[in-house]
């Protein structure tokens, strides 16, 4: 029986991009369904009744929500190639720690940067601190996963397509503060088709952000 894999997606979402990268890495065929987050489909409400959020992976009719959980599910089920998590338990715990760190910090702080309200300056500083911390963790490695991308790379790289929006809305340069991290993002896109295909162009994200800001009455 062939697997049926459906992804409930929203193209600017960094969280959804993570899942697309993982599916790409594993060579999994799937149907991608775009959601309108201002008009959520009955399918989304049925598949994720608690949070009503994307991404949701539906595998043979069964829904899995929360992007990092989806990544681990994909890694466990399709374990024939491109492992996302290290096999050593200690290294796995460190990878999960950093993935959790990225989850706790980047989206929320980044949002405060592009929204451009009174706390923007504070948010910019926090963002740079987090990115510098991540850059230190990367060190001299090619990728957070070592020689190949792993769950931490997949968790973080989608946010890099939002960097242009953060920088333009906040009037600052991320590359100036974190050149190695920006180089790492470039490397991911150049060497991994799954990454370059999953990430929209930064200008598309910026266009979306500006539309969203208008909609929220922020411009």
């Amino acid at each position: 029986m062939e697997d049926e894999v459906v992804l409930l997606d929203f193209w600017p979402s960094s969280f959804a991009m993570r899942v697309k990268i993982a599916l790409g890495e594993k060579g999994i065929k799937y149907k991608c369904k775009q959601e309108d987050l201002f008009n959520k489909s009955p399918l989304l409400l049925e598949m994720n009744p608690i949070h009503k959020k994307i991404p949701v992976l539906i595998h043979n009719g069964k829904p899995i929500s929360e992007s990092l959980i989806i990544l681990q599910y994909i890694d466990q089920v399709w374990n024939h190639k491109s492992p996302l998590l290290p096999s050593c338990p200690y290294q796995r715990s460190q990878a999960l720690f950093w993935a959790d760190y990225i989850d706790k910090k980047i989206y929320g702080i980044g949002r405060r940067v592009w929204m451009g309200k009174e706390d923007q300056e504070e948010a910019k500083e926090e963002l740079m601190q987090c990115l510098k911390t991540l850059e230190r963790e990367l060190g001299d490695k090619l990728y957070f996963g070592g020689q190949n991308i792993g769950v931490v790379d997949v968790a973080l790289v989608p946010f890099t397509t939002w960097f242009y929006s953060y920088e333009t809305c906040g009037n600052f340069s991320i590359e100036a503060g974190c050149p190695k991290l920006v180089a790492w993002a470039k490397r991911c896109k150049e060497n991994y088709r799954s990454v370059s295909e999953a990430l929209p162009h930064p200008l598309q994200i910026y266009e979306y952000v500006m539309e969203l800001k208008k909609r929220l009455g922020l411009v």
Binding site: I50, I64, E66, I69, Q72, Q76, Y90, S93, F97, D100
Partner: protein, 223 residues
């Protein structure tokens, strides 16, 4: 020399999860009490990113974040598993653990606020209890883990023990057992397990600690 050490703080709901996991699996460990108002060099060295407890040290290697720690423990010592092996069941368990983890802050939100902010916290508590009742505990299971407790039960432990104490501190009844029969049943079952019952912070001590924290907060607000 102990191979496993746990740096914890007695009021912290997160730390007990690790204690329960280690005891369930029969793993001997050395416990190091941390004074969170005066963080030790040890804590700052082993958790420089978050500077929080719990921190597990295994052969001197630190693991931080209680859910990450529990998963590590589960992999190193597979007896009495804390997560399902089936990928889908596991994903569902991880979903509920994250849900619970994202709600633990409601403990502080309840006793460290007053007025409108506190009312908003009460509303969020009721919404969370509804989700537990209507979605997480369906199927007539004794525990989230089925017949035995697992990591999901441990993640929701803050509802089983800490909520009741804080309700007394703030003088509000949020959890009405007749409104949440499944949650109520689960709480009774969970707290009757010896390893859980014997490893919970003393109610009076926790009450005094939280009451003091609340008084300090209210005092600083009025200044």
């Amino acid at each position: 020399m102990a191979v496993v050490k746990l740096i914890g703080a007695w009021p912290s709901a997160y730390c007990y999860r690790v204690i329960w996991a280690l005891k369930l699996k029969g793993i001997p460990y050395e416990y190091i009490e941390e004074d969170l108002s005066n963080k030790s060099h040890l804590l700052l060295q082993y958790n420089p990113i978050h500077k929080k407890v719990p921190v597990l040290l295994h052969d001197g290697k630190p693991i931080c974040e209680s859910t990450v720690i529990l998963r590590y423990i589960d992999e190193i010592w597979p007896q009495n598993p804390l997560l399902p092996a089936d990928p889908y069941e596991r994903a569902v368990a991880l979903f509920w653990i994250k849900f619970a983890d994202d709600k633990v802050f409601l403990l502080s939100k309840l006793y460290q606020t007053d007025g409108e902010e506190q009312q908003a916290a009460v509303k969020e508590w009721l919404e969370m209890l509804e989700v537990m009742e209507e979605h997480a505990l369906i199927g007539g299971k004794k525990f989230f883990g089925g017949d035995e407790i697992n990591m999901v039960d441990m993640a929701f432990s803050f509802v089983a023990h800490w909520l009741g104490i804080l309700e007394d501190v703030v003088g509000l009844e949020i959890f009405e057992p007749h409104k949440f029969p499944r949650v109520s049943s689960w709480i009774q079952n969970f707290k009757s397990i010896p390893i859980i019952k014997e490893n919970l912070p003393d109610v009076d001590k926790m009450y005094a600690f939280s009451k003091h924290g609340r008084e300090m907060m209210l005092a600083s607000k009025s200044n």
